[in-house]
């Protein structure tokens, strides 16, 4: 399990309850209220999908819902990872993670 790394999370910052969600069936430790993109960034997961033609790895760029680079499947629905908050037990999948051609 990826632990919520203390190194990128600022110690003095007030956070919600600790929780755990699943990324591609792997548990990720996070805090309630964080967005999926922020929680994954904090544990060092940067690559969220691949580009349509070149199949280059892509991750969150703007963190404000503009760039659409962080699109991810949340409980089966395509969402912006930077605008979707984590909840305990949330099932998140990278949209092309299981596709061996990518």
């Amino acid at each position: 399990m990826s632990t919520a790394s203390p190194t990128l999370r600022i110690q003095t910052f007030a956070r919600g309850e600790a929780c755990c969600f699943l990324l591609d069936d792997e548990p990720i430790a996070a805090f309630e209220g964080e967005t999926i993109a922020a929680a994954l960034w904090a544990v060092g997961i940067r690559s969220l999908r691949h580009s349509p033609q070149r199949k280059d790895p892509r991750g969150a760029l703007c963190f404000m819902g503009s760039c659409q680079e962080c699109k991810i499947s949340v409980d089966g629905v395509l969402q912006e990872a930077c605008r979707t908050r984590v909840r305990h037990g949330l099932q998140v999948h990278r949209i092309d993670h299981a596709d061996p051609t990518r």
């Binding site: 990128l8 680079e69 908050r85």
Partner: protein, 462 residues
């Protein structure tokens, strides 16, 4: 579909929109304030994930708003305005229609980006993105970070990283130090901000952070565990830096898509961020009962945004008949004067953030320009060689700016490549604004319904 009515619908709850809502509500205007985020504050006063006790200006603004009587609709995203100011929103409970007598657009600024090889790598994020990681989530962009960009945003981010215990391996500024010296008189008109800025620089210098003026990001490559960032000086001399993140931007530009969608006239002003809506002295756009304020109307920063928001709210209240001219005029005069005073610093920062006409001169052909569609510089240059002189023509020729981001990320790169071919920036119009302004799920268009709700025509007789 849920339908709401409002006298004044305000789009965007940053400093301009929130203050406009508070002011309009205080004059008895029925206000509906709409934002896609879960709380007011905009990017500059981004609310933390967990609401906290009053700490700063943003918390005070949210408290004033909560007590103002303005209705707020958060987590709702505007994707269309049609008819007589009918707004279509996508929200967590499905689609919402808002019928408004007047609209105020306060949608703020977005970052410009100039492509370079490797700018699509995970780990490369915007400068505004870095401030969101700090303010909303209390998360650092990295332990060893390269921070790059013109104007005040890059030193702000570098300083946040230092304060949090991280290391800024390089702070990169395309402008020479002399450009900052030229901005000093304007900076001194806002001593508090000038002092804060000076403190960042002193603290960065003291910590030994390399501050590289007249440098730019040449490329980034993945090392497997992090990034190798190449930084070039103005003569093309390249140095390499190891980092775990790169925070990079090329200045701020107003978001004018909503204004353009409703047919408002725009004009070009390099010092105010580029294309901006044409406004009268009080924030009225060229179409009736439509107003704009804040960085979405002209990039000047948070303090001028407050005055512009107040002024537009007064103008709307006056036009809607909630306040009489003799009562409004002295209030508006005060706001106009404050806005004018605060604009001087905004313009000086705008000068620092103006893109160089040669920004993409050495961009390799193989570099991705449009990230959504994976269109490279070679394809864009070929279309320009074939005669494309506008962003719309580049869209038709290459599919660039036609992906999910709606051109928000790549139009600056396309503009810079057109400029490179000899066309002046003020002659390069933004692309036509199209519905939907943002990606909207099918359920956001249709709402939920039962099969029996679908009107089916009687089968024709056999």
């Amino acid at each position: 579909m849920q339908t709401l009515h409002a006298k004044l619908a305000i789009i965007g709850a940053g400093p301009a929109g929130s203050n406009a809502a508070i002011r309009a509500a205080s004059l008895g205007v029925d206000v509906l304030l709409i934002d896609e985020k879960p709380a007011a504050g905009g990017q500059v006063y981004h609310a933390p994930d967990k609401p906290q006790a009053l700490r700063d200006e943003g918390d005070r603004l949210r408290k004033r708003l909560a007590n103002s009587g303005a209705r707020c609709l958060f987590e709702h995203r505007l994707w269309h305005i049609g008819g007589e100011r009918h707004l279509l929103l996508d929200g967590p409970e499905g689609p919402v229609k808002v019928k408004a007598k007047a609209i105020l657009i306060a949608t703020g600024a977005i970052e410009r980006w100039h492509p370079f090889p490797g700018w699509t790598l995970p780990g490369v994020i915007g400068l505004a993105a870095a401030t969101i990681l700090f303010k909303a989530h209390g998360i650092m962009p990295g332990q060893r970070v390269v921070v790059a960009g013109p104007g005040p945003l890059a030193p702000l981010v570098a300083n946040l990283i230092r304060e949090a215990g991280g290391s800024v391996v390089a702070l990169v500024d395309p402008a020479p130090f002399s450009a900052w010296l030229r901005a000093t008189p304007a900076l001194l008109t806002q001593p508090e901000q000038a002092f804060r800025g000076a403190r960042w620089i002193v603290s960065l210098k003291r910590s030994g952070t390399p501050i590289l003026h007249r440098h730019k990001i040449q490329s980034a490559t993945s090392t497997g565990t992090g990034l190798m960032v190449e930084i070039a000086d103005h003569k093309g001399q390249v140095s390499q830096f190891d980092a775990d993140a790169l925070c990079v931007g090329a200045g701020l530009q107003p978001t004018t898509d909503t204004a353009r969608l409703i047919g408002a006239d725009i004009r070009y002003d390099a010092l105010l961020g580029g294309w901006i809506p044409v406004l009268d002295s009080d924030g009225r756009m060229s179409v009736p009962f439509a107003y704009a304020a804040g960085d979405g109307a002209a990039v000047r920063g948070a303090i001028p945004a407050v005055h512009a928001g107040n002024l537009a709210a007064l103008a709307a209240a006056l036009d809607l008949g909630h306040i009489e001219a003799r009562q409004a005029e002295p209030l508006m005069k005060t706001e106009r004067r404050a806005l004018l005073q605060a604009t001087r610093l905004g313009k000086a920062m705008g000068r620092l953030m103006m893109p160089s006409p040669d920004a993409l001169g050495d961009l390799p052909d193989s570099s991705v320009v449009c990230r959504c569609e994976d269109i490279d510089a070679a394809a864009v240059r070929a279309a320009i060689t074939d005669g494309a002189t506008t962003v719309n023509a580049l869209k038709s020729a290459t599919r660039c700016a036609m992906g999910p981001c709606g051109g928000r990320v790549c139009v600056e790169g396309l503009t810079a490549l057109l400029e490179q071919s000899g066309i002046a920036r003020e002659a390069i119009l933004p692309p036509t604004a199209r519905t939907p302004l943002r990606p909207v799920p099918l359920s956001g268009l249709t709402g939920t319904f039962e099969y029996s709700d679908i009107p089916l025509p009687e089968p024709s007789p056999a």
